[in-house]
């Protein structure tokens, strides 16, 4: 990695200011570092008071943490965005078509493009969904497509989060904070707005109302409760959409509908934006221990009494083993080549690939097929011999649990440090809404940044921060 120069989104590879950052740079040159330091502290105060915190599991209320926020915006040009959004739309349409196919006729398997075991042996596959078509034919209503960049024109999809992607409240609050702190920046740069996301989300969800709905659709957000790490986001989205935030114990099945207990009695819900995992959704059909879900909701769902967003069983489309087939999946359902590239991926379940991976562990990134949050993975180039050997043992004992990818030279963007600007690695998660009315992508998304110098891990659980992400009007 050290022999190729890393691409910086502000300065390119050879210290030439790139166009999208011109407006920012002319502002920054006129700024006083002391004032900016004060602004950075001010931002933290705003976040704390607004309560934009996440809970650390199993700790008391004293353990609410802030995700660090960096005040330097990340800038993407309108032209760059156009290509990205086309690629994302293509990919998300393919994912919905794939899910429909997998839970119905399974043409892609019959055509021999994906091995049957990939589905039947997959923990995320939900037999309850076989033969079922959700309202509007939409399975994944809200997608967070993780992208990374390695060059001027080189983007890769790292993950398709098709279950319950989180973080969108940070996208919105980051922008809100920036607008308050640096209004002058926004008069100088024409930045595409993100503020419509909550109303877009509500409209998109309402457009997927089930057959049983016979009026303006009632939408609600289902949260596991105030101790969940993302509770702030659940409350934020419900508040911004103007819908109820419900927990499992507020709900029950009444006359074939899922209804919420209000001060005026039970009222049916048409579309439920659930932020709990499949397994906890319905103690009668899935995990019987679950106190978070609604007994019988799956039966109401199958009978057309409610829309669940995202649909149960969407996880089959975003695990890391299926990911390696995404180029084939896109081509199979859209008839076009994928616009966005996949990171080359070795499936360790295949003997040849496994042999290659074992030989090259010190250069690869190895991930668990169902892992998330940056846990349980090996980053070869930054790991010690001992760590690599320990991982080798895990890998050989259960190869099918892993995939491997080359270590990408992730792009950097400037963050604000005590000494001024300094480059740090980033990724990008745009938020995508799907409904029968179409695909809606909010310009920008959430930029996660590894705050430690040289680090490639951007996850908030591991010391990552976030930034406001600008898409310029060209």
């Amino acid at each position: 990695m050290s022999d190729t120069k890393i691409f910086d989104e502000m300065w390119g590879r050879n210290e030439t200011l790139r166009d999208p950052y011109a407006g920012f740079q002319s502002w920054f040159e006129g700024e006083d570092l002391k004032r900016l330091r004060a602004k950075q502290r001010e931002a933290e105060e705003v976040f704390r008071l607004t309560g934009i915190t996440f809970n650390v599991y199993g700790r008391s209320e004293a353990e609410e943490r802030l995700i660090p926020f960096d005040i330097i915006p990340r800038v993407i040009s309108g032209r760059e965005w156009q290509k990205l959004s086309k690629g994302i739309e293509q990919r998300v349409r393919a994912i919905n078509a794939f899910l429909h196919d997998i839970y119905n006729r399974q043409e892609i398997i019959k055509a021999g493009r994906i091995p049957l075991e990939m589905i039947t042996r997959n923990e995320a596959f939900l037999p309850h969904m076989m033969g079922m078509c959700p309202p509007g034919g939409i399975y994944t209503h809200i997608v967070g497509t993780d992208l990374v960049r390695t060059g001027d024109d080189q983007f890769y999809v790292l993950e398709d989060n098709a279950r319950t992607p989180s973080g969108v409240s940070y996208m919105l609050e980051n922008r809100e904070t920036m607008l308050q702190m640096f209004p002058e920046l926004f008069s100088k740069n024409r930045v595409q707005p993100v503020q419509n996301y909550p109303s877009d989300l509500r409209r998109s969800l309402a457009a997927c109302a089930p057959p049983a709905c016979d009026g303006p659709p009632t939408v609600a957000v289902l949260t596991p409760g105030i101790y969940n790490s993302a509770y702030f986001e659940h409350a934020f989205l419900a508040d911004q959409m103007g819908v109820e935030l419900v927990e499992g114990h507020d709900l029950r099945v009444v006359d074939g509908r899922v209804a919420m207990r209000t001060t005026r009695g039970y009222q049916p819900i048409d579309v439920l934006y659930r932020r709990i995992d499949d397994d906890f959704l319905d103690p009668l059909n899935f995990n019987p221990e679950s106190a978070l879900g609604v007994p019988g909701i799956m039966d109401v769902y199958r009978a057309g009494g409610i829309t669940i967003a995202n649909a149960p069983g969407t996880g089959i489309a975003d695990d890391k083993a299926i990911y390696s087939y995404m180029p084939e999946i896109v081509e199979f359902y859209t008839g076009e080549k994928a616009i966005l590239e996949n990171v080359p991926t070795w499936r360790c379940s295949e003997p040849d690939s496994l042999a290659y991976v074992l030989d090259n562990l010190s250069e690869l990134v190895v991930k668990e097929v169902h892992g998330s949050g940056g846990y349980g993975m090996l980053i070869g180039p930054t790991s010690s011999k001992k760590e690599i050997e320990a991982f080798r043992a895990k890998l050989t004992s259960r190869p099918s649990n892993y995939i491997a990818q080359p270590t990408l030279a992730l792009s950097t963007v400037p963050i604000f440090t005590k000494a001024g600007l300094a480059p740090r690695h980033v990724d990008l998660r745009p938020y995508v809404l799907c409904s029968p009315e179409g695909v809606n992508i909010t310009p920008g998304g959430l930029t996660r940044v590894a705050l430690q110098k040289g680090s490639l891990v951007v996850n908030s659980s591991q010391g990552g921060g976030t930034k406001d992400t600008w898409v310029l009007e060209d």
Binding site: T50, G51, I226, R261, T263
Partner: protein
């Protein structure tokens, strides 16, 4: 509105009111102790009785002392009614009902929580006590002000108000009950310094020394104090005032929902009871019995509201 949300609002404002009442009682205890008008330790016992926290205190401490009483009432996590516990609970409920609150109310409450938690991190020294109590008063007042100034007058507001006034009526009733023996007719004589201590305690506990002077003049007597705290509708902490507010808000809810619930009947009966009596009749009935009666009615009313508006399953 979700039943759970109504419940959360009700308790958020009950806890907030309780935090305020507790800090006022601590202030009273401190003040009486300093002026050495009476036996300070006795005074702390009666302050903790008024706050309804004496049983927990006795289970945790062997003897009554000013320092441990203040710590118990302000900071102890083992005391569910300490200022720290109640403000944390208020915030927890606010998080639960976040979607029903305006941004300003939430931020005022979150700010109140952050500031009090910081101020109550360590034992509060005598020197810092006035500033800490002042901070609690200001911060809770800010939440009340934001609520008053930014919330829609709908069912959300009604549940917030009902919680506030049930808690307040309960607090005033308990203060009166702890001191009821001072207010008995046999003690109607005025002037002795012992009596002054009690009266001052009572009036300070409800932040009403100025108000009382304004309404009744500077001559303090037991009958007037009882009249003031039980029946006087100008006094925002009197039982009559609180009960009439509870009634008003239940009536708004009723017309909003187009239904008359049993809780409305209970509130109506309470209101009528206050309107029918003058203070002499109350003394005739027995002040202690009368207050016990009111406390029981308030508990019943609270329970009925929970049922009527489906707070729980």
């Amino acid at each position: 509105m979700l039943g759970k949300t109504a419940n959360g609002l009700y308790w958020m404002f009950r806890y907030l009111e309780r935090a305020e009442n507790t800090s006022r009682l601590v202030d009273t205890g401190q003040r009486i102790g300093l002026t050495r008008l009476g036996d300070a330790d006795d005074e702390w016992t009666s302050v903790m009785q008024s706050a309804g926290v004496i049983e927990g205190y006795d289970a945790h401490y062997d003897e009554t002392s000013k320092d441990s009483a203040i710590d118990w009432m302000l900071r102890s996590r083992d005391n569910p009614s300490s200022v720290l516990s109640t403000i944390s609970e208020a915030r927890q409920n606010a998080r639960l009902v976040r979607t029903a609150l305006t941004g300003e109310v939430w931020e005022a409450l979150n700010g109140c929580y952050m500031a009090t938690r910081e101020a109550l991190k360590r034992k509060v020294s005598e020197r810092d006590l006035p500033a800490v109590l002042g901070l609690i008063r200001q911060r809770t007042a800010l939440v009340r002000g934001a609520t008053h100034g930014t919330m829609l007058r709908n069912d959300i507001y009604d549940f917030a108000r009902i919680g506030t006034f049930i808690e307040r009526a309960d607090a005033t009733a308990r203060i009166l009950d702890v001191k009821y023996y001072v207010l008995l007719p046999s003690n109607f004589s005025v002037g002795s310094s012992i009596d002054n201590v009690h009266w001052e305690t009572i009036l300070r506990s409800v932040s009403a020394r100025g108000g009382f002077r304004m309404a009744y003049g500077s001559q303090v007597n037991a009958r007037d104090i009882a009249q003031f705290l039980v029946l006087d509708k100008r006094m925002p902490r009197s039982l009559n005032f609180c009960v009439s507010k509870i009634y008003d808000n239940l009536a708004y809810l009723g017309s909003d929902y187009g239904a008359k619930f049993p809780s409305m009947d209970l509130a109506e009966a309470l209101v009528n009871r206050f309107n029918a009596h003058d203070i002499d009749a109350v003394f005739e009935y027995g002040l202690h019995e009368y207050i016990q009666n009111v406390l029981t009615s308030l508990r019943q009313l609270g329970g009925q509201i929970e049922q009527d508006y489906r707070f729980y399953e």
